[in-house]
Chain length 372, copies 2
């Protein structure tokens, strides 16, 4: 069912034949950050990660220099959060056009500085280059004590799926910005869930941040674990309310907020059912309210509800946005086609159910009613 | 005399107001790699560095995918070498155009893999993006034991200046590639001087790699230390012979090989005079022959010879290539103007010497003879 996304294929192709480290505790694509035991320093582990902000600038998704700086830091720190590491610092490689203005540069650096201060993360160093196209790469390093290693791998059917906070904001922001509706864009200033990640690490069986959108995250967890995910009825209530309102205003199904490739850097993680109480107790002591989103399935498919609709082809949805750089309109058209198919399948299933029940005439059921 | 180069100014502007780490053992611009003591792991230190290869691709300096991959690794590992660290691994963030061919990608990854294997460095992970302009960023992490901290800071007048190997190859390669003489380009496949860096660390007072060319490296050491550098007569013999021949063929002064911004990733380092014997003894035991290039001066100026020519304005020379992206022709024209001025100054000094000696008529001395 799931064709591997182009990025996965690319990473696998890039990694084939490259030497690996005997000190690394995770395999390829199995963790948001690379986890290393340190030879000669018993019990201390490093978490390392790198992330580039380039496409977001080129497409105009991130236009304000402060946001570009802020996101450069968040993208890397969020990966540390997803393995439960405490940031030791960040290096930032900047490629800037020669035409950059002092005001732009000042705001860019303010965004970097504000994000670092908000997450108690020092800037260790970096690299600066002049180039035609602006691009910023963060490389963050964090520390882990000798406890459990938290990666994307490890969930089992029956585990509960949580998000660290409201979801959908990343795609609502992208929809507004790239669709010529910038004025309606929800406030987008994600934080890396560093403190939450440390609690998650003690209880979770698997964790990944939603930087590429919720469906892409679940799709990756599916590939790594061989499990599926069910977003239980009521999952729409985990959507950021402004984002939800925006989609409604444009008459789009709310699950589109999960489908785009631009996320909100929340942690998506799984908790064994028996540990739910202890986990929620500790979270509440930290004044944090994780939101239950669904549960882990045995079959490798991603379902939004329990109403008989088929699973989403999340591999195909990921490919929509990673194989080429599509226009927003093309992307929405493809998602609408998937939605239409889902409704048709749903009606067909309903028809078959009615036939089984002895009904001979089948009225048009219309689109299924969504939860209010 | 020395105007700060644009990159220095940029780095200082970028770093102003950013939070710094209490665990960091070097200050801004004082080391090729950032050196951190590890809280909770006594005696273990990390070296971290990041470098982007983008402009080299855009200008056509690096065109072969294998070389792009190789250089992405070398640029970061060479920074580890300059602080004497042992590589623990590297992360690589790649921004690739959607139109990349499988053959190009394969060769790029072979370059990365070959460089990693040649330097016993595992690839820990990375990030892949689709973008209009190709750009690769390496982020390397290395380990240091609790010994001496080697940075760019620490040389004093009288220390001896060494290079780990022949110099000038980077600029000869750039001259040939960008000047439409690709067929005459010298073989360019620099290695990171990891093993040599570990010996250098035990003896040197300061060290920096020549990644930006020799004069830019010396200029940076000058700024950090407040000292100057004299390349002693015979320094031309430290030039790579093919590179030297190429410059002669085009009638260019050999010091142009030091002046361009593209280096050969040798280590430039200073050894206290009293330690020269012990250092060379250990180097020779490792079958390595470091080359003595000159010595450290008390005055902050960079002189090529002891023949009375004035110091080079290395700040201005750095600005030639970093403030804007000049054409090779513009760069050569500016360097030729500096050379003409140096010759004129030299003749003026000779004239004044003769006048002092009572000579009344001054024959045209012609350009000073260069060493054969």
């Amino acid at each position: 069912m799931l064709t591997p996304s182009v990025e996965n294929a690319l990473i696998e192709s890039l990694a084939a034949g490259l030497p690996r480290s005997p000190f690394q505790l995770n395999r390829l694509q199995e963790a948001d950050a690379e986890i290393l035991s340190l030879p000669g320093a018993s019990g201390v582990r490093l978490a390392l990660t790198t992330d580039t902000i380039a496409e977001e600038i080129q497409t105009g998704l991130y236009a304000h220099p402060w946001l570009i700086g802020w996101m450069t830091v968040i993208a890397s720190l969020s990966d540390l959060a997803a393995v439960g590491a405490v940031p030791l610092g960040i290096l930032i490689a900047e490629t800037l056009p020669a035409s950059i203005t002092p005001a732009f540069l000042r705001s860019l650096q303010e965004g970097i500085g504000d994000a670092c201060r908000a997450h108690a993360t020092p800037v260790l160093g970096g690299d600066t280059n002049i180039g035609d196209v602006m691009s910023l790469t963060g490389c963050a390093v964090g520390l882990l004590d000798g406890g459990k290693v938290l990666t994307r791998l490890g969930c089992t059917p029956g585990d509960l799926l949580f998000t660290s906070g409201p979801i959908g904001t990343g795609n609502a922001f992208a929809f507004a910005r790239l669709g010529g509706q910038a004025a309606t864009a929800p406030n987008y200033r994600p934080e890396a869930r560093i403190r939450e990640g440390q609690t998650v690490r003690r209880y979770a069986s698997a964790c990944m941040d939603s930087s590429d959108g919720v469906l892409a995250t679940l799709d990756q967890l599916l590939r790594v674990n061989g499990t599926g995910f069910l977003l239980e009825p009521g999952w729409e209530d985990t959507l950021d309310s402004a984002s939800r309102q925006l989609l409604r205003q444009f008459g789009l199904p709310e699950w589109f907020l999960l489908a785009g490739p631009h996320g909100e850097f929340e942690l998506l993680f799984t908790i064994p059912a028996r540990d739910e109480g202890a986990f929620l107790g500790e979270a509440n002591r930290h004044k944090w309210n994780p939101i239950r989103l669904g549960r882990v399935l045995g079959e490798p498919e991603i379902r939004l509800e329990a109403d008989g609709r088929p699973g989403l082809d999340t591999g195909a949805i990921r490919n929509l946005t990673t194989s080429v750089r599509p226009s927003l309109d093309d992307c929405l058209a493809a998602l609408r086609a998937i939605e239409a198919e889902r409704r048709r399948d749903c009606r067909t299933e309903a028809t078959e159910t009615r036939r089984t029940n002895g009904l001979t005439s089948v009225p048009d059921a219309g689109p299924p009613r969504r939860k209010p």
